[in-house]
Symmetry: C2
Subunit: 341 residues, 2 copies
Amino acid sequence: MTLDAVAREAGVSLATASRALNGTTRVRDDLRSRVRAAADLLGYIPNAHAQALASSDGNRTVGLICHDVSDPYFAGIASGVMRAAAEQDLLVMLASTFREPAREIAYVSMLRAQRARAILLIGSGFQDRAWERGMDAELDPYVRAGGRVAVVSRHRSLRVDTVQPENRAGAAELAKALVALGHREFAVLTGPPELTTVADRLAGFREGLAQAGISLDRVVRGAFTREGGHLAARRLLASGGPRPTCVFAVTDVMAVGALAALREAGVRVPEDMSLAGFDDIPVVRELSPPLTTVALPLTEMGERVIALALRTPSGAGRSRVVRIDGEVVLRGSTGRPPHGS
Amino acid sequence: MTLDAVAREAGVSLATASRALNGTTRVRDDLRSRVRAAADLLGYIPNAHAQALASSDGNRTVGLICHDVSDPYFAGIASGVMRAAAEQDLLVMLASTFREPAREIAYVSMLRAQRARAILLIGSGFQDRAWERGMDAELDPYVRAGGRVAVVSRHRSLRVDTVQPENRAGAAELAKALVALGHREFAVLTGPPELTTVADRLAGFREGLAQAGISLDRVVRGAFTREGGHLAARRLLASGGPRPTCVFAVTDVMAVGALAALREAGVRVPEDMSLAGFDDIPVVRELSPPLTTVALPLTEMGERVIALALRTPSGAGRSRVVRIDGEVVLRGSTGRPPHGS
DNA sequence: ACCTTACCAGAAAGCGCTTTCTGAAAGCGC
DNA sequence: GCGCTTTCAGAAAGCGCTTTCTGGTAAGGT
């Protein structure tokens, strides 16, 4: 069904039919209702491609690039994006990179081809020369051509609007809270260091400890997944030397894996060892003990990032930053350190 | 940057430039590389809308409609869909209905307008007259026009391809396994009865019990969320009468809430009461005790449903069904019933 | 040397819309 | 009643591509 057919059915011109349905200009009421009736009768569905091609203001879609929708952190943010998009009748094109930088760049290119109104990058931020160059090469012309880009996470080089969780400050706060509980011996379970998020949280935690004159000498690296956390915790326990009294996993997802590993090794949490994470994904509240973490308002972050992207670009070309504070939430997984230690 | 500009830069015609980049017909090698070079130089990005409009075979997008991405059940399936889509260079347009039937219909309409190659409905299946009529009215012309539709869940009226978890059989199996543990007094925490999934699981559980000559007389209804499960469990405990020794929540998400409610009420699981769910979303393994449930291969279901949709429509117009078996997984949340009971 | 194939580049016709431009009809003041 | 503005419908020009169709050139057959 084309608009042409509708116009013919209604006995008006193509132009009138278009105007009647889109309501942009005044059309006589009787003609408008005749067109509407004809469209209903014929089951007319406009062709969004033709519309996008013909009209000046692009189409009603935004692109959302994340690592993996089944990761609760992204799912939380994505949910916020979707809700905001739904309110504005926007369709979201979702792309999962599965953590491959090359795929991320390819997706930006695809979204550019789709003339997405905005491109949102969630939890991106590889610290990788090739990725940065490629990403810049894609994003720069896009922005220059009026495309909007917004990112959740810090970006070293890209001059785009960002929603930035205060990873550094949050981790520092957490460290101080843990020190206040009496801990002195810490270990951190960290992720791929090329992600800015990881680097910031680790640095922040170090800072927080440093303020109490404590140095961090146990850092175990693992993949950014539950299994990564599990493995990292096992490696921590296996490595000799005095056991830390408190472990910080840089993401809740890793902390979940770590908790399982500790339990399997017979380490009681928090009696023998305290454990904390970061993000406050929904599941951590269900663990026993529930996890101490730094809470981030994930849904709100999603809403913020899409709002940021959709706002008209700032005149001076300065990139805007929305800072999101994390809140330390002490739960059952942390307690005072064991006496003997 | 338009193709026209690229063609001019390369000193060839528009048609040649198009053919050179898409590689559909033979083009002399030197011309092809000249076009490629020109496209690179100018940073040419094709306009997907123009392509879709001009070419016969639509565009490279599929639509995915689900209730909420932040629900782990959908996230698991969506992850499978995304992975399969990525392999075929398809972009996924995701729409969250937040459980509003009207929104679901509106999204189908939007996806039709976008000329999505396929429309996937996950966990849909309202049993609601108005919804069915509206959905049919959208889907029918779409399919007739060559659009593909596939659904996860059973559909009463819609003649579309479906991926169907064996909800009924799975719940029946679960019931038998629980009876085998010694339980005789059951309660079910159920969701909105207009969802076929709920109806099937409840019916299946009843059947399984019936085979052991046990009747189910405690059914508490709640929302299809963690909070719904929490509230339903609280209501169950509050209602007088003898307590059941075993509770089945029709989804794991509800079971998670129920477990929290039981714990808050001082009911030990499984010593005082056993608890089981359905779906095997990742989180249930992390609970203590880990949840007994009926495992569904969520990622695989996602891959199946998109594969189903993308296959050419079956000649006879018969709708295909892929049945997915659930597997009962007994974990720590279920045990023998308490003695005194 | 001539005619037939084969191959491939270019011209041009759309795809289904939006939007400007043009013009007819109607309303207004004098 | 005449020329003015105002209102609104229709004609037509694209938007940026793909894809026929046409035609020119080189290769192959006799």
